[in-house]
Symmetry: C2
């Protein structure tokens, strides 16, 4: 019977790896560089070699390992096929089959943000809920939808692209995805900075933000210090995200909503700004939803990747 499982989270510069027991305890974690040269052809062999080394180091036999779960930065369908990962130099191929051939263990793969959502469900801020929206507020806005304990992958692996729901008809600048008016443009770290810079230009209110560095962190620090202009920015942020999450909740009827990513370090104050708009505009059947902050930080991906494998056991 399986006793251990590996979880792997492939990023643009480093690959995070975790060694877990099947109860979900993280026993060891480490990183290797992501070698994106030669169309990223070294990445999976490097991962396989690193896992092999760890197995030898731990002096365990492969028979008691459930397999290797992988999160990758691109759309991954339910068969484990990635449909392009620009950051890694990857085209379209089966992560599952390719890695299984070198690592000689069962492999499961998913989109990194979706897999991280699964991690938060399993051992993080969403523990105890099987129906979950996880939204990750970082440089961009990512996310994952968990339905009945499973990741909503979608027809081509593009499920849970929460950051790109359309929330503003009047936006003139383009989002990274090419569209205009995406949630990400107003609620990512970059989006919050943008909102603050716009507000500083159009308002003549005094503010601790004037003349200083404008980041999501300085904005929410100013909010905590009751800076009025910063609070107006937070209000706009909360309106976009609260209304956006309300629309998503009408569709998926979650039990809980988990907020993660770098911006979530601001803490509970985020939820204070999001929740009133959520509750105002969500369908009554989804009104009593638990809001929580993510707790696994950058480890969410390796947890979720490990869980992907255990779910198929």
């Amino acid at each position: 019977m399986s006793q251990y499982v590996f979880g792997v989270d492939i990023g643009g510069t480093t690959v995070k790896l975790g060694f877990f027991n099947v109860e979900g305890e993280l026993l060891d974690k480490w990183e290797i560089p992501t070698r994106t040269e030669e169309e990223g052809s070294h990445i999976l062999p490097d991962i396989a070699a690193s896992i092999q080394k760890k197995i030898e180091e731990k002096q365990i036999t492969p028979e008691i390992i459930a397999g290797v779960g992988v999160g990758a930065p691109g759309p991954v369908d339910s068969e484990g096929v990635i449909h392009k990962a620009v950051n890694l130099g990857w085209g379209t191929f089966s992560i599952k089959k390719t890695l299984e051939e070198i690592v000689h263990m069962p492999v499961m793969a998913g989109n990194d943000a979706n897999v991280a959502a699964l991690g938060e469900m399993w051992r993080g801020g969403g523990q105890g809920s099987n129906d979950l929206i996880v939204v990750t507020l970082g440089t961009g806005v990512g996310g994952g939808i968990i339905v009945g304990g499973k990741v909503l992958t979608g027809a081509t692996g593009a499920g849970g692209e929460i950051g790109h729901i359309h929330v503003e008809d009047n936006e003139t600048e383009a989002c990274g995805c090419g569209n205009k008016g995406c949630l990400e443009q107003f609620t990512s770290a970059t989006g919050i900075t943008r909102l603050a810079n716009r507000k500083l230009k159009t308002s003549d209110k005094d503010s601790v933000l004037r003349g200083g560095e404008i980041t999501a962190k300085t904005v929410f620090d100013a909010v905590k210090a009751k800076d009025e202009l910063a609070m107006e920015v937070a209000e706009e942020f909360g309106r976009y995200l609260g209304n956006g999450l309300a629309s998503i909740a009408c569709v998926v009827n979650p039990e809980a909503i988990v907020i993660g990513g770098g911006v979530s370090k601001a803490g509970e104050v985020l939820i204070d700004y999001i929740k009133p708009y959520y509750e105002k505009n969500v369908f009554h059947g989804s009104r009593n939803v638990k809001f929580a902050l993510a707790t696994l930080g950058n480890d969410a991906g390796i947890y979720g990747a490990a869980k992907l494998v255990l779910d198929t056991e």
Copy 2:
């Protein structure tokens, strides 16, 4: 081995019943009145008696019947428990258990709109797709989300409430659900009428709609006759629905979108107005989606209810 299955669609005034073979052919259909008096306590016994009569009439043995599927107008969770159906006088109880005790066959239950979506996937406009958004434009806007061939029920049975996603911050009138700015307020039959009446007041354009009866049908008839004012109304309708569907598609990444309900009788012209906004604002990973009209009409519910049972076999 099972050869037949019953599908039941409970409405506020009539209950529709269908008798199918397991391949999904509708062999017989009929209706009985919905007796909502005495807190709707006669409804399930009436259904059981009607099915019993049909079994005798067809001279078949209960052993070759897979069971009875039921769609009901309220949130039904994945255990078959309905959480209030105001139209029927029902509180919270298990449709599954209650009906199984009188009908002595396996029973499955779901929300009527969700179940109708499953019907369209199985034998209607969504045939061949396992990941589907079905939106029903009737008096209100209902819908269902199909993920990997299964209905997205949600934590408390309120999944797929597409009509209540928030699409307009500036709406001052309330939706039937109590919120303001729901998709239903602009894209249901009533919503289209509302848009047209507003447009007639604010525009001084000549129109065949002036002085006549304003309904979704007369509006789209005028659109087909190239009436400019009606075309402006259709444009607004298309913007709300296209953008709304784009947001939903970012979340669920469907293979196809099926448009049903009374309004869909207007035909392909609806899709002509919806699709440009959808494609403009959807995440690129969900751009190449098939749009189709629903084909089962009022029978979608009994088809989907039958399918609910067959899926558990």
